[in-house]
């Protein structure tokens, strides 16, 4: 059950379109910045298969210039000594 967050940069002038495009994808939450051309994207998929599908769809979003990963979590990983 991976959870990721990203900083999404839109193509020039496409911030609103990008928000619409990303919000239309499953397992995605979008938080646009009020005063910059930047969007926070949070993805919360139920399993790795769905995660891979989503990754593929993200790559095809036309209004998206780039994605920078800021957070990653997977329930299966339990660090310790």
């Amino acid at each position: 059950m991976p959870v990721f967050s990203y900083l999404a940069t839109p193509k020039r002038g496409a911030k609103t379109t990008l928000c619409v495009d990303l919000a239309a994808l499953p397992y995605c939450e979008v938080i646009p910045a009020d005063n910059q051309d930047l969007v926070v994207l949070i993805t919360d998929t139920p399993d790795e298969t769905k995660e891979k599908e989503l990754q593929k769809r993200l790559k095809s979003v036309q209004s998206l210039q780039s994605l920078s990963l800021t957070f990653g979590y997977d329930d299966h990983e339990q660090p310790g000594r």
Binding site: I31, V40, G72, P79
Partner: protein
């Protein structure tokens, strides 16, 4: 059936809550990163957690990690800390946190948290009731003292001790047991800052405050990667640069870092030569007549000390500096060896860059703040380089006014509050030093112990304390809230020493570490907001936190562990407090040591209400800038500044020369080894490596190489490199063109990963004045593994 269904429902609810928490952590991370990259960015549409659920209650605390002292709000649901947000009422961070802060509560809930006491029996650690372990500790303390003398027992704590932790440790060991064997790991991180303050001003801790950042035009970071080590302060600097048009950041360092990348100018110097460059800046300021003569004539005196002072690598090393007054002319002649052109040859810094720095400091229209931390403090001439940066500010009069600030940052949440102010170092008392009769009298009076109990002679500083453990002069040591079996330089000697048969090692901690590995007794400790306490941050701010959640199992606060042992040793009278109000009582007793306008501390009731209070706190007013009568109630000379720490009421400029490092690269060991930290991990990683997000971000240590050195060695990113010093070797993956890039001939290794004990390679040389080791400079060679 019903029960099963309920359990199922609870599980679903818990998972949903946990899921929501993780999503909030993900959101927080993204927003924090965006804030660092785009100062002033706003996400108004992000809903607040409390508004969504209504189930989370929020309570204030200072962050558990670095010395910045960010105020956080801890979200608690069903008795569990589930969320963190920045405290908008805390002037330190104004609602912002870094990635460690946002994820900090997860450190409470690692799967291998220590919850029961353990005692080594026949070589194996066995769980026992904590009362049995405390009985054993008291018995061992008593018998060791009887057999081997009062100085055969020691306590070693840290800048993560709360103020009450350190206070009761000092009271028990110095006041009741009569030994000055009290030290803390802050000796390893800021002792040079203390001796720098003491020798230049006669009083410890910065004269300025974080508000300086909102006024300064120029920031010079002296060997200080603030972008990773003090990210919230760094963000404030960047925000100021964005908001105001006349702000510049100059990074002066031995390695390119994220701070260098964000700076307006990056200047690299050869290790140890910051001493020469600082002198060259002063030379240039005098040569160009940029001296603030009104300030210098009224408020400064000139001195020199001993030179060629050694490095402390041998046991029982002793050194005492001797100050000699000199004239300005003598000081000026001393600087003739440090013209920018001469220093260019020593330091590798172009003369024009030295002149550029001098011009910034020397321009009366610019307000300059200098920041430093480990780069200047972990230095075999750490006291000197602290003095030399003060010299620059004193020659130009850029001190103790908003924006003009030589600012020594600390690395731990209470290095200032506990170690420096309570005085948990061998020579210190809560007020003053053990060598001073009046200070001993004050301590004996407040502690209710005979004056003769307090030994007037300091015993062992940290490195010498572990050498004494190795030699057998110390037989019993109690280690709390720190992990010296990762952090001590020349580590192998001190680990072997701790393992010797007749040594008895007690460790109080929250997780298993290489230090608990050598313990005879492990005590499970309460962590951070599982207990009440206070920290003191870098800007003289004392920060109270209440107990917000319960500690797990039999875990107990370090303060209460010491009280339990003290009472078993017969000191009920000195430790009479109840569990209900012991923190308040301890604070009010401790506060008596600092009564008066120079260091008055806020009462307990005020600390409870506010997100930190800066001392001196006099007549309900905090002090932002010391030594300036507009702000500081202790100033009394009627002038525009009063450096009342020194008997001559002046700040001291010191003639301190450049002297080389204790060990430099040669034909056999041809690289510098520099060690340090990364933003994701706190110190030895014993907490942050148990936070999944942080652990996954940087799961293992690495060695940074310059790309050309890597090419010559024939290694690419991720390939294994063997690093060899005269003391040990370690093999670890290479990182090339990562977040940090060392200069040619240097490698950098972060120390957070206990799988790669880099301190087996480092040298236990230290500043002879501060006794702080140099973790930034020793010689190694490399092999492709």
């Amino acid at each position: 059936m019903t029960t099963t269904n309920n359990q199922g429902d609870n599980e679903v609810t818990m998972k949903l809550n946990r899921r929501r928490f993780i999503r909030h952590a993900a959101t927080s991370s993204a927003i924090a990163t965006a804030g660092a990259l785009f100062p002033g960015i706003s996400f108004g549409s992000w809903p607040q957690l409390a508004n969504n659920s209504g189930l989370v209650s929020w309570q204030k605390a200072p962050c558990r990690f670095c010395g910045t002292g960010c105020g956080v709000l801890i979200g608690v649901s069903d008795g569990r800390a589930v969320a963190v947000k920045g405290d908008p009422n805390c002037s330190v961070n104004k609602g912002l946190c870094c990635m460690k802060g946002y994820h900090s509560v997860q450190a409470l809930y690692g799967k291998d948290r220590l919850t029961t006491a353990q005692v080594r029996k026949n070589g194996t650690l066995v769980e026992v009731p904590i009362q049995e372990a405390l009985d054993l500790i008291a018995d061992k303390l008593k018998t060791t003292r009887e057999l081997h003398g009062k100085d055969s027992v020691a306590i070693y704590g840290s800048g993560q001790w709360t103020i009450p932790d350190g206070y009761v440790a000092s009271k028990l060991f110095k006041g009741c047991l009569g030994t000055n064997n009290v030290e803390a790991n802050a000796r390893l991180c800021m002792a040079s800052a203390v001796t720098g303050f003491m020798t230049s001003f006669g009083l410890d801790e910065p004269m300025g405050c974080y508000e300086d950042m909102d006024h300064a035009n120029i920031f010079v970071t002296w060997g200080n990667n603030m972008a990773e080590m003090h990210p919230v302060l760094f963000s404030r600097m960047l925000a100021n640069r964005k908001r105001r048009t006349n702000v510049r950041i100059i990074d002066f360092a031995t390695r390119s870092t994220r701070t260098s990348q964000a700076a307006d100018k990056s200047i690299l110097f050869k290790p140890q030569t910051d001493l020469a460059v600082a002198n060259a800046i002063c030379y240039e300021i005098i040569n160009r007549d940029w001296v603030n003569w009104d300030f210098v004539n009224q408020h400064v005196s000139f001195h020199r000390g001993k030179t060629d002072i050694g490095y402390g690598t041998e046991d029982h090393f002793a050194f005492k500096d001797q100050a000699e007054a000199i004239s300005f002319e003598e000081y000026s002649r001393f600087l003739e060896d440090y013209t920018p052109e001469k220093v260019e040859k020593i330091s590798g810094v172009a003369a024009k860059d030295i002149k550029y720095l001098a011009a910034l400091y020397g321009d009366p229209a610019l307000k300059v703040t200098s920041f430093w931390c480990m780069g200047m403090n972990q230095h075999t001439r750490g006291t000197w380089i602290n003095n030399l940066v003060y010299n620059i500010h004193l020659l130009t009069g850029k001190i103790s006014t908003p924006g003009n600030s030589p600012f020594s940052l600390t690395g731990q949440p209470s290095a200032c509050g506990t170690v420096r102010e309570v005085g948990t170092l061998t020579h210190k008392l809560p007020h003053g030093v053990v060598m001073n009769q009046h200070h001993r009298e004050m301590a004996a009076g407040i502690w209710d112990v005979p004056l003769s109990n307090i030994d007037p002679k300091p015993s062992y500083h940290t490195v010498e304390m572990f050498r004494a453990l190795d030699r057998g002069d110390i037989k019993f040591i109690w280690i709390q809230v720190t992990n010296p079996m990762v952090t001590m330089p020349n580590l192998r000697r001190y680990r072997d020493g701790g393992l010797k048969g007749d040594r008895f090692v007690v460790v109080s901690d929250v997780y298993p570490t290489p230090t608990t590995d050598i313990a005879d007794v492990i005590l499970p400790a309460a962590m951070w907001v599982e207990q009440e306490g206070m920290f003191g941050n870098s800007e003289r701010r004392t920060q109270h936190f209440a107990q917000i959640v319960d500690p797990p199992g039999e875990a107990m606060s370090d303060t209460w562990q010491i009280i339990e042992v003290a009472r078993r040793l017969g000191f009920e009278q000195q430790f009479p407090w109840s569990k209900e109000d012991y923190i308040e009582k301890i604070w009010e007793e401790y506060r008596r040591f600092h009564a008066g306008p120079k260091h008055e501390m806020a009462p307990y009731s005020v600390l409870r209400e506010r997100s930190g209070v800066q001392w001196p706190y006099v007549n309900g007013r905090e002090t932002r800038w010391r030594f300036n009568p507009k702000y500081d109630p202790a100033c009394s000379n009627g002038k525009d500044f009063d450096f009342y720490g020194k008997k001559d009421n002046r700040a001291w400029i010191w003639a301190r020369p450049y002297e080389p490092a204790a060990e430099s690269p040669d034909n056999t060991y041809n690289f510098w080894l520099n060690t340090g930290r990364v933003i994701e991990h706190w110190h030895t990683g014993s907490m942050t490596r148990r936070i999944p997000v942080l652990h996954n971000a940087v799961p293992a240590a690495y060695v940074e190489l310059h790309p050309e050195d890597a090419a010559e060695l024939g290694v690419v990113n991720g390939e294994m490199v063997k690093i060899i010093s005269r003391r040990g070797e370690v093999t670890m993956p290479a990182q090339i063109q990562g977040r940090g890039v060392p200069v040619r001939g240097m490698v950098f290794v972060p120390f957070f990963d206990e799988s790669y004990l880099i301190n087996e390679l480092t040298l236990d040389a230290f500043c002879p004045i501060s006794k702080q080791p140099d973790y930034k400079k020793c010689a190694v060679r490399l092999e492709k593994a």
